[in-house]
Assembly symmetry: C2
Amino acid sequence: MRFPAAGNSAIPDHGGSLARARTLFPHAPEPWIDLSTGINPHSYPLFDLPATSLTRLPEPGLTRALAGVAASTYGAQSPGNIVPAPGTQILLPRVYSLAAPGKVLILGPTYSEHRRAAVLCGHDAAETSDFETLATADLAVVVNPNNPDGRIVSREKLVDLAAILRRRGGLLVVDEAFMDVGPRQESLCGDVGEGGIVVLRSFGKFFGLAGLRLGFAVASEEIARQLDAELGPWAVAGPALEYGLRALGDLQWQDAMRGRLAAEAAQLDQLLLRYGIAVHGGTSLFRHIARPDAARLFEVLGERGILLRNFAERRDELRAGLPGSEAGWQRLETALAAWAMQHERAAMRAGVSR
Amino acid sequence: MRFPAAGNSAIPDHGGSLARARTLFPHAPEPWIDLSTGINPHSYPLFDLPATSLTRLPEPGLTRALAGVAASTYGAQSPGNIVPAPGTQILLPRVYSLAAPGKVLILGPTYSEHRRAAVLCGHDAAETSDFETLATADLAVVVNPNNPDGRIVSREKLVDLAAILRRRGGLLVVDEAFMDVGPRQESLCGDVGEGGIVVLRSFGKFFGLAGLRLGFAVASEEIARQLDAELGPWAVAGPALEYGLRALGDLQWQDAMRGRLAAEAAQLDQLLLRYGIAVHGGTSLFRHIARPDAARLFEVLGERGILLRNFAERRDELRAGLPGSEAGWQRLETALAAWAMQHERAAMRAGVSR
């Protein structure tokens, strides 16, 4: 038996765990205000699931219908370009296995699961902050818009990069997990037909239904068939099929939600700025903060039951999702006021001692 | 890019599709009585899911708790032996990738996805009806109890086989999809510690919740870590976690259900026999029929809205699940009476013409 890279494969924290929050801040007031993910706090309206969505095997016809709706909503040319999956996470090693072990370059810093999955598949994987360098890889990865800083690469540049890689038999992976709230004209979902491109789309983030586990690969029909074969029949659970069909087809809800999230993201920026915290980027689903005292801000808010996302490997960065409820906004404001007061006192003490 | 075996990878029928039934028998009365799967028609009692099971990312702690309950119920030595997954189907290529491409022998005839997954992973895969031959493989596969004929291999024989394979660095895969209603003392879940064995356990069949997509690999902690790494975080959806925790821990329901299913399987055998159809094996969740006129029986029942499982590659075999409802039993009996009458007429015509 072979165990390619089990030593490197332990799964790190990605936010969203209240159990972890309670361990870090055992005295914090409940309920927690979880701002540690980029998941929409305003979920698509919940509805009663038909019992058969739990009891029966998912009908292949429903999965095909979901691919059709996804193709239309994401702007892919054909349902044959769409691979429905139980979340994009489980697709990562399958996508990285499409290329023989080689050199993987990831435009970073970004979501760390890409590197973990690439290494798991036997690749030599590294992050680079230089877009031009990606063209030297066998397999290049761009998260677009990027998580956590919201950086956007134009479709034009990505299509050019894909053409260079394709000529050498390489592959471009574009993770569009947050493209629902991004500049959608930069999506590559309509450009996958020639091959050499795999786009990943998440359902759970924008629709606020991360527990359902639903995501898609968008790729040439040849690649899509290969990924479908790896997943096998019944890859998507009944509840995810029901919600996926209804929510992905509901363009009116999607448009209204985009407006609402943009307004709330602006409100969050203003609130943070009022207490001296500048936002450096992000998307409507999360805001990116970079400051030397980020670890202290994480702690002050954590002690007050408000969980931000911190990064073990980049201590001066934080990511903040949207509070979602009126109570959440108020508790965030109270916590930020406490932070600002501590900050001011510290500045005064620094002044006195000088 | 590489496409190892996409040509061989199309997914065939496995029963359970009413859309397929309607295409085959467009004039059949609705609703369909679906006997084409081995899924328990008496599902674990449905309950209201907490909204957070849909909206939030699954808590890693819940997944660990589910592994604990599964270890206890399946008789594994430790939760570290358990890999929770969105169904066992998606695990097959991952399990077959644990061994370098080599010779895979599958004790057959059996569930055809094993061969498809093995070929997809680059193996040279074949079915054999001779148990002793399995010892010559790099990777051997036994479905226990077998689908569709219910054949059982003793734990003792399997442990011996695993030891032979292990000495050569080989692997034994035991698919215990129907072991919940099998002779559980023959399960290998408690024997995986030394390595060289992967057991697969299905949740959806016995608990009648196939739409949720939940299954487990049971293996040494080393193999389990490797499989966990391939699946990545949040592999099991929130609804599957909720039902898995409750149902797998409910030993009282499980015991009562085993008794009920055994009684209903006996009732089905008697009903079939009353109309001249002998049952040749199976489990409490499905019965196996082998007769030269199987295709005709499939058609006569299909035209009456009762779907059996037929097998493209073995035309003289059928599999019949349990009807579940009083209406289902009655419609099955009416259809069988029609079958018997046609049969008698045909026999009489044969007598007259002689």
